[in-house]
Symmetry: C2
């Protein structure tokens, strides 16, 4: 078998850092996803770029698939080894290699988690802003073009990665981008690799942008009678240029789940959670300005939290919303959806989705990053009832179709993986074939995360 040939060649290089043990294979067969496990034939734990290059080159020679693996937090089955092969677990490549405080950037290995990165940065007065909720690795976040609650101010991974080191399918190591803040020097290969989900190369080093920790932070929440009022209010706020650091939406059902989970007593209507970063006077002015605007759209029960403990309580509610939603139905599993539309169509997209879920047999609280037009329904499925998973999949399918009809995308931040492959044709048309042409040019033997991203043969 070809995997045996690969293991024979790699044994002198990796020693016991290559495994075929059942627990290791099982642990790398999936991630936080509803897809069935698809374990690889072996798992490697490299420590250097050179080791990754040797692994990839050897696998390429023998036509063995290679799948990069971070923290396993992918929601769409990105790391499932659907064609078998070698999973490269980046857990040992988890160091911060350099911080350049003057340039506000850091050079990190792909296996470093975002929380560990921020812990290392604490003394510098700087932070890494991208916050998808899960404690994903920086490499995984780059491969998925992740984003999260702070995107409205600080951007997605696309906006926060300056440069990459990438191992190509044939084992060559390239560098894309530089530590300069911008460049017009040729094709944007950094951007091309971001979001390519390990199908064009294996990321072995990243230079990420950092931001200054704000002197002052002000957070708050406010209630609306209707979702559409909340969205209209956010549009108005954005147009004034008021720099919101976070602006999150929870529907009435999500608020109810949060109340039940955390013992909070928030009115069970649609809510916005907002945060401002700046100087003490600046955030106070921002918060006042925000209040003034949202009141025109019927906002009620506006509360502001400037003390750290109050803010923490507020954002803990938001960050625990996923778990709160899961807890809202005992024993349930969540199928987490993810669509993004032009913000002017957000109210319609959420309303239709809410009605569709309400007419179904399962619950599905909705929350989202309203400033980006991105929202999630947490579809709550009883695992003992297979029919419910089918209902959830149908609801998710209609969400994707709705997003496309409303000028949006089938995934705002979770990526394609297994879950959205069926929508690539509908979203991209002939552009999907351009992706295929690029894939073939860079990975002619189709060893990099095969079965994903591009049109599949047959």
């Amino acid at each position: 078998m070809t995997i045996d040939a690969v293991l024979t060649e790699l044994a002198p290089v990796l020693g016991d850092r290559i495994s075929r043990s059942k627990p290791d294979l099982a642990a790398h067969g999936g991630s936080e996803t509803h897809f069935p496990s698809a374990p690889p034939d072996a798992v490697a734990f490299p420590e250097t770029t050179d080791e990754v290059a040797i692994i990839v080159k050897t696998c390429n020679t023998h036509g063995v698939p290679v799948i990069a693996y971070g923290a396993g937090t992918a929601l769409e089955g990105h790391t499932s080894a659907v064609k078998g092969g070698m999973t490269i677990d980046m857990v040992r490549m988890n160091r911060m290699l350099a911080v350049h405080a003057g340039d506000m950037d850091a050079v990190v290995q792909p296996g470093l988690t975002r929380e560990a990165l921020n812990a290392e940065l604490r003394a510098t007065g700087l932070f890494f802003s991208v916050d998808p909720g899960a404690n994903a690795t920086v490499g995984g976040m780059a491969a998925t073009r992740a984003s999260g609650t702070t995107t409205v101010r600080y951007g997605t991974m696309r906006d926060n990665v300056l440069a990459l080191e990438v191992v190509l399918a044939d084992g060559r190591v390239i560098r894309t981008g530089t530590r300069a803040r911008k460049s017009s020097a040729g094709y944007d290969l950094t951007g091309l690799m971001l979001g390519s989900e390990g199908t064009l190369g294996i990321i072995t080093e990243l230079t990420v942008k950092l931001h200054g920790q704000p002197e002052a932070v002000s957070a708050g929440l406010c209630a609306f009678e209707a979702m559409s009022d909340a969205v209209d209010a956010v549009v108005a706020v954005i147009q004034t240029g008021l720099p919101m650091a976070r602006i999150e939406f929870l529907d009435a059902e999500a608020v109810a789940a949060v109340n039940a989970y955390s013992g909070a007593k928030v009115a069970e209507t649609p809510h916005l959670f907002v945060e401002f970063h700046g100087t003490t006077a600046g955030v106070a002015e921002d918060a006042a300005r925000f209040r003034e605007i949202v009141e025109d759209f019927g906002a009620q029960s506006i509360e502001t939290a400037t003390r750290t403990e109050d803010r923490t309580a507020l954002w803990t509610m938001r960050h625990h919303a996923y778990w709160a939603c899961l807890a809202a139905r005992k024993g349930a599993r969540g199928l987490v959806t993810d669509v993004c539309v032009p913000i002017s169509n957000l109210a319609e997209a959420v309303e239709e989705t809410r009605e569709d879920i309400a007419a179904s047999i399962i619950p599905g609280p909705i929350l989202g990053h309203v400033g980006d037009g991105n929202f999630h329904a947490i579809l709550l499925v009883d695992p003992s009832q297979p029919a419910e998973l089918e209902v959830a999949k149908s609801l998710a399918a209609r969400m994707s179709e709705r997003a496309l009809r409303l000028g949006g995308t089938v995934t705002g931040e979770h990526g394609i993986g297994m879950g959205k492959l069926a929508y690539m044709e509908a979203e991209h048309g002939d552009a999907w074939d351009v992706m295929g042409a690029i894939k073939t040019a860079l990975d002619p033997n189709n060893i990099l995360n095969p079965g994903k991203m591009v049109r599949q043969p047959g």
Copy 2:
């Protein structure tokens, strides 16, 4: 001849909107560049995407090069028809197709200039932020991944284009991206096309981000004894998160040129020009905070301009700096350089460049977008002295080498064109071959702006 075959086929489609007149060919042989003219064999003036598609498809069939042409403001010879062929002038595709105020985006044709776009937007309270100085077309700015004075706050073209319509080499029309603010759905083809300088496809439509016109604007300038103090001050300001809308640097020589040109009486030492956008109270606080920080770095003669006429006078000085520099040497032509480095290396890069120019036989004032680490020397050459152009080219070459040595890029915003092709290998190494593989995959007959961007045969 193949061009004749193309013209015969296209005549029924384009009629008199295809030209072989000498003035038309001459007018499209170059741009605002020091490179010698290289006119095409014909110039087409399409009015629709379908017409562009037919032109490109026909040229592809006959192996005739195709070069897209906007306002002709490229500085590095991007549009020179070095292999002859068909230039597609976008001047008739210059309409704004839609404004979505709620989503803060606009859909435009590639031949629309940024000033015309902003004139059309005036009543909406929104504006298109990217400002490279020249009144370039939006299509040309996208193809070059342009930026300019407002990048530090609003970003480059990479940050301000949401979606594209592109004609591929074989005449297929694709759409990349959507009007949603973000997406994780596959390879970022929008980003790949931005900065590809017409070598991967012809842009026929763009969806660009807009920003809210700020309620209040505050501008100012301040003097420093040394460049390095100015740069250190900017680094400190950025780290506080103070949202500068513009932060520009002029060296003593550039200030002297501006004084002579505009009759201003600014002290002839290194200067920073700064601008803040926000609420009235916000910009006042920002300006005060800025003053506080820069004074720690020895800033003197700090002046603030909040009245529109004072601000206009200040930015007119800055925007006319190029012409002021040219006027500083009677009859001179300018060779405009463009490098970008990590900001912590900016002072060193500028100082070394200043000394190198001072030791040469030609003058070269320096100015730049200090918040991005991007600067330009305007090398002033007497066109009657060919030796001076050689000196300027040597100085420019050493600037590029210096930028690479200091971890930067050979072009921050002007692009590759003819002028930086020789540095692609040095900047990108094997990644340049990846660009070549992508080019070959998307344009196998090499008809799209041939002779540019990728490694040339032979």
